[in-house]
């Protein structure tokens, strides 16, 4: 049986861990509320923007409007190089949040490599960056401190490289992988293809005949370009916001579980402590009694 003092020390250490995890949970809960609010407000905008783009893309695809042969909408048959952007947290202690994203990225890379396509990996978030560095996976560039504090200007700057390279034909597709917020207790992994714009969901036969796309022929390229870059950069920004909300919800949950585990552990340690204490008393009593007996 363990020494009384040892058990006591253990109890103390576990309860102080419990205090830490509980504090972290409370912090995450507060942060989550703010992040969730932001994500909720942006969601509507993101959805509508995606709808508008999907409709335009669909129309261009169906009717071949004005012979538009825009790179942004045309699917490349034989991609040479693709961009994969992943968003992870800057901090750990949030359960499987980061590793889920990393696994999805690895799967995506493996799929492309099987097809002999080069993957240019661009990382956001310290945890993911560290992981790929440790495993000696080559990364094109990396940004930290962005995923914990989403900032529109920095996110735009980051994504601009991909947009320009796509326009110039250096890359043939752009994927964003991130773990998004679904509810207080669940996160949802998103592997999105941002470029080229997906036209699959649009049903050509369902278009209303009177609906038309009002773009003057001479500057359709410019209009589409500006619309698409807004669309892509907003998607990037939204991924960041969504990811922060998910990160906090994941951490809140992980810390809640940790606090509960610590509570359980303290409980069982206390039982052990009491058993040891009683055993010590019994031994002492026996010693006294046997001492008295021997004196008779």
């Amino acid at each position: 049986m363990a020494n009384l003092k040892d058990i006591q020390r253990k109890i103390k250490s576990v309860s102080s861990t419990q205090k830490t995890t509980r504090a972290m949970k409370l912090v995450s809960t507060a942060k989550l509320r703010r992040a969730e609010e932001l994500a909720k407000r942006s969601r509507l905008y993101a959805e509508k923007l995606n709808q508008v783009i999907a409709e335009i893309a669909g129309r261009i695809d169906c009717h071949k409007v004005g012979g538009i042969n825009n790179r942004f909408f045309a699917k490349t048959e034989n991609p040479q190089m693709v961009d994969v952007i992943f968003v992870t947290a800057d901090k750990g202690l949030c359960g499987g949040f980061n590793i889920q994203t990393i696994k999805a990225v690895k799967k995506l890379i493996a799929e492309y490599q099987a097809k002999n396509v080069k993957v240019r990996l661009r990382g956001i978030g310290k945890k993911g960056v560290e992981y790929f560095k440790f495993n000696e996976v080559e990364m094109f560039d990396e940004v930290i401190n962005l995923s914990s504090k989403p900032d529109k200007v920095r996110s735009d700057e980051f994504i601009l490289t991909s947009i320009e390279d796509f326009k110039d034909g250096k890359i043939d597709a752009l994927h964003i992988v991130y773990n998004g917020y679904k509810s207080m207790i669940t996160q949802e992994l998103h592997v999105t293809t941002v470029l080229p714009v997906d036209t699959a969901e649009y049903d050509c036969n369902k278009t209303q005949p009177q609906s038309m796309l009002e773009i003057e022929a001479q500057d359709e390229e410019r209009v589409l370009d500006s619309l698409i870059s807004k669309y892509v950069s907003y998607n990037m920004y939204y991924s960041l916001i969504d990811s922060v909300a998910a990160e906090h919800s994941a951490r809140m949950q992980a810390m809640d579980t940790a606090t509960n585990n610590a509570k359980e552990m303290v409980k069982s340690l206390k039982v052990e402590f009491n058993k040891a204490r009683q055993a010590a008393i019994t031994t002492e009593l026996i010693e006294i009694i046997s001492g008295v007996e021997s004196m008779k």
Binding site: S42, L44, Y45, K48, V52, Q210, S211, E214, V223
Partner: protein, 130 residues
């Protein structure tokens, strides 16, 4: 006169949603007005002012910096990046909105020559409310 539904969405949420009589939008190729049963169209918006004529005939102005609009027979959906609605219950709220608007104008001033006109218009819209 028939009404149409108008929604103005920004990354920070909805700033306008409701039935209106008409809406005037600053399109890339010039200003255009939309009444109910307008033919469908999708187009880009420039920095400028959206004038909303509400059911009670009062006019509300919203300053935007960039946007895309989707019009169909029943509704108009405007997606904008940055927007400030010039409205407020009290004088101080209107002044605050005007300050916000001028900040937004300053942010976009570098690229657009039409900004001075926009700035003047937004001020006159605010003065009407004061």
């Amino acid at each position: 006169m028939d009404k149409l539904k108008l929604e103005i969405l920004t990354p920070n949420g909805k700033i306008f949603s409701g039935d209106v009589m008409s809406v005037t939008l600053p399109g890339e190729e010039g200003e255009f007005g939309v009444l109910a049963h307008h033919a469908s169209l999708t187009t880009l918006l420039d920095a400028g002012v959206i004038d909303i004529e509400k059911e009670d005939k009062s006019v509300e102005s919203v300053l935007i910096n960039w946007g895309v609009v989707q019009v169909d027979e029943e509704k108009v959906i405007v997606l904008v990046e940055g927007a400030v609605a010039i409205r407020g219950e009290s004088e101080s709220a209107v002044v605050k909105a005007l300050e916000d608007a001028q900040k937004l104008i300053a942010d976009i001033a570098d690229s657009n020559p039409a900004i001075a006109a926009v700035s003047a218009r937004i001020e006159s819209a605010a003065h009407k409310l004061l």
